[in-house]
Structure formats: structure tokens, C-alpha cells
């Protein structure tokens, strides 16, 4: 019983921290933010790994293995695509930069 309250405290505090930090993310980065939080919530991988690796019974192992598959797609794919997007965001036109360098 105590554990559930501890969990609720953690949930509440994390939700406030998340709210406060994410409020500051500019609209510019909202799509990468969604991909990013998606990758992080792939953390349910942690639960799936135990189910798949703990050899409790066959059903748990199979369901766990499928869950590992789904969660891994999210974690690896989510981080990958976030990186792909963030690499595209440039402060200045690379050509303009080059021209600026040449002029200076």
C-alpha cells in the first residue's frame, strides 16, 4: 500500500517537472518533441524486457517478446527520427554562411 503512494508522489512530481520543462519548448520543435517523448515512453521496453527474459512461463515470454519488439521500434526509431529532424534545423543558410566566411 505504501508503494502505491510513493508511486503517486513520483508521478505527480514528474508530471509537474515535465509540464514546466515542456512549456518552454518552442512551437518550432513541437514535431521533434513528439518523436522525442515517444522514444522516451518506449521505456516500457524496461517492463517488456523483464517479461521476455525472466522465463516466468511461455505466455508471458511470448507477449513480452512482442512487447520488446514494439517498444524497441519506438525507442530506436524514435531517437533516430528525432535526430534526423533536428539535423535539418539550421540557424543560417549554409551557403550564406560560406559567403560570410569568404567575405570576412
Amino acid at each position: 500500500m505504501l508503494e502505491i503512494f510513493l508511486g503517486l508522489y513520483i508521478f505527480m512530481l514528474a508530471a509537474f517537472v515535465g509540464y514546466g520543462v515542456i512549456k518552454g519548448v518552442p512551437a518550432l520543435l513541437h514535431t521533434p518533441l513528439m518523436a522525442f517523448t515517444n522514444a522516451i515512453s518506449g521505456i516500457s521496453l524496461v517492463g517488456s524486457l523483464v517479461a521476455a527474459g525472466a522465463h516466468y512461463n511461455d505466455v508471458s515470454t511470448v507477449l513480452g517478446a512482442i512487447a520488446v519488439l514494439c517498444a524497441t521500434i519506438n525507442v530506436v526509431g524514435g531517437f533516430w527520427i528525432t535526430d534526423r529532424m533536428l539535423r535539418m534545423f539550421k540557424k543560417q543558410d549554409p551557403k550564406a554562411d560560406a559567403a560570410g566566411d569568404a567575405a570576412s
Binding site: L28, L33, M34, A35, G53, R84, R87
Partner: protein
Amino acid sequence: MISQVETLYLIASFLFILGLRGLTAAHTARRGLILAELGMVFAIWGTLIHPDITRHLDHIGWFQTYKWILLTFFIGSAIGIAISALIPMTRMPERIALSHAFGGLAAALVGVSEYYREYGHIDHTTMGALGFEVLFGGLTFTGSLMAFGKLSGLIPGRNITWPLQNQSNILMFGGTFVLLVLVTIDPSNQVLFYAMAAMPLLLGILFVAPIGGADMPVVITLLNSYAGLAASATGFALNNNVLIIAGAIDGASGFILSVVMSKAMNRSFRNVLFGAFGKVDEGDAAKVAAGGERVQEASVGDAAMLLSGAGSVIVCPGYGMAVAQAQHVVGELAEILEANGTEVRYAIHPVAGRMPGHMNVLLAEANIPYTSLLELEEINDDFKNTDVALVVGANDVVNPAAKNNPASSIYGMPVLNADLARSCIVLKRSMRPGFAGIENELFFAPNTVLTFGDAKDTLEKVVDALR
């Protein structure tokens, strides 16, 4: 051993939050991403040495212990990388919807697996957590698949409606909740549990079916939030704090984004979810027709001339730009205009496109520096001092009716002041009304010209004419 696991989880949680902080500015975002990736490595490491897994190491060896994990992890990584590396940026909303589906499914499966394993000695609190996990997981899974289908055109994007839709949906949701309560009271009742696990799968489909294409930003962000809550519930069921924290962050993020989206549409959650929007507004359409107003059509040459003579241009992109994949040619046009000494900026409406930030990603892909991508509040006062507003595939988000026609169904929604620019060029496929189904006064304004055709095609011709 358990304290090692917890230490690794603690580090992971810290890195997640730090990484998220990095995302508050474009120049620190990638650093934040690397921190979060590092956090994930710690979390996975911590789990692989979890006593429940390692207790088998001595008698069955590492290969037998980890074989399923390794196999599915490698297949999952390969699929994840393949999807993420190959998908075009214009299809990002579908990609995100699909990943929510995977997240929901993973949570639901862990929940069912846990119920099956612990059956017979589950206490009420654990059962409640498992119930929420399975409920949110299932709802997110099928709801996101529906959203994916709609966004990718596999199923009709319009709002599918049927009689007594809202009543039956609410009734079913209430029923599922009652099942959740009953199974929490009596965790040993398998029939109740599996019925409760199946209901949300149906609910996800029924909830998303009536929601039309342009409302997708709200749906996607809500599902994002649910996916987070499902992960958090998993954390409660497994007593795993890093899961609770990551899920809470994801939930908060989805919640904030859906509030931003609803505000940008000037609509409440309730209205988006139960509103069945998108019916043609007879009043608006009739009024415009009665006025007998006509649009002024401009040829590609006219448009090119207007643009070449302009000292300042603001581009207003919309979903049509994504559909036509016109972002690269927008970038080319901007390059030519800038070489001419014209100032080119971009006005990004929060709900332009099918998900938050959709337009920013597309324009960034076209090598447009993010410093010229401006939010509605930042740029809206500048339209009146701008020579040309170039509307590329946007409609409702530039409709002045939202400002000056109280009878309009979008009245009160914040819109871009494209009508205040000295002249306005609208690139449009046809005279079909936008998603809201209402006529756009902007098209009939004396300082507006319309160039019909595929946005990419038209812009390519304009670029050729200017060269």
C-alpha cells in the same frame, strides 16, 4: 543487485529530464537528444541485470536467458531504423501515429502478461494499475492505428458518423470503466479482465472514426498523452519508477500540445472529440454567393511579377504544401527572391498541417533557416507592412472571417493576417472550401489574386519565370 538496478534507473531518469530541457532551444536540442539516448542505455542496462532475469544465468547460460530479448531487440531496431530513415518528412504525422500504436500495444501486452503471470495473487492496487495500463494501452493502440489509417489515406479521412454515436461511445466508455472497477475489486475474475482488455480496442476505433482530417493534430497529441499514461501505469504495476517518470513526462507533453492545438483552433476538447465538425456552413456559403463576388485569377507570370517587385514577402504554408511536397521549391523560390534583395519570412500557424510543428519540419528540410520561421504571435503584426503574402496550400488558417464574421463557425480562432498584406497571392488547387467547409473571404478580397494548380507545379513555373 537491486540497488544497482535502481541506481541505473535513477541516472536514466535524470538524463531524460536533462535531455528534455535541451529541447527548449533549437541549438541545444541535439545535445539533449544524446543525453536522453544515454539515459535509455542506462535504463536498458539496468533492466538486463534485473534479478528476475539474471537468476537464470547460472543454470541456463546467457544465451538461453537473453535469446528472446536479443532476437526481438535486433528485429525491432532494424524495423525502427528502416521506418525512420526512409519515411519522407511530409509523412511524419503518420509515422508518429504509428509509433503511438506500438507504444500502446507494448504497454497493453505487458499488462496482460503480468496479469497472466501473477494470476491468483494480485492485490487490488496492482490490479487497478494493470487495469489502467491495459485500458490506455488498448485505446492508444487501435486509436492510433485509426489515426494512421486516416492520415495515410488507407481509410477515408473525413468524419465517419452514425446515429447516436456520442451516446453509444460514452456508454461504452462508462461500461469499460465499470469493468475496471469490478476487476479491481475482484482480481481473480478472468472473464471480467479479458472483457476489460478487449473493450478499449473497440473504443479506440469508435472514438477516432468520427474525427476528421484537420482535427488530427488534437487526436495525435491526445494519443501521445495516453501512450504516456499507459507507460506510467505500467510503472505502477511493476513498481518501476523510471517508467512512472518517463510516462508522466510523455503524458504531460501530449497534454500541453493538445491544449495548444485546441486553443489554436479556438475549440474545446469536447468539441473536437464529440463535435462532428466539417459540415458545410450554409450561412457563410450563401452569403458569399449572394454577393456575386468573383475571384481574381493570376497567371504564373503575374504571380512571378508581383513577387519580383516585392521588397518583403511572408509565406503562409498549410497542409496543401505537404500534400504537394512543395517545401523544396518554396526554398528555391526564397533563395531567388533573397538574392534579389527581398526579405522572405514564414508565418507558421500552430495548426497548419496535421500535427504540431509539421510545417517547421518541412521547411527545415528545405534548408530554410529556422530563424525565419516565425510563430503567429511573432509575425502577425508585420503583415500590414509586407508587400506580398504568399499562401501555399493554407485555407482556414488565413480566413479573415475568424476575425470579422461572428456568424462564421471559425469565428474567434487566431488566424494569420494575410489579408492585411499589400497584396496576397493564394496558390490553390481548386475553389473547394477548406476543412471547416466554409468560404474564405480572403479569396474575394480586392488585393488578393489566386493562381490555380498544384502548388509544387505552380511554384516551379514561378521559379523558372524568375530565373
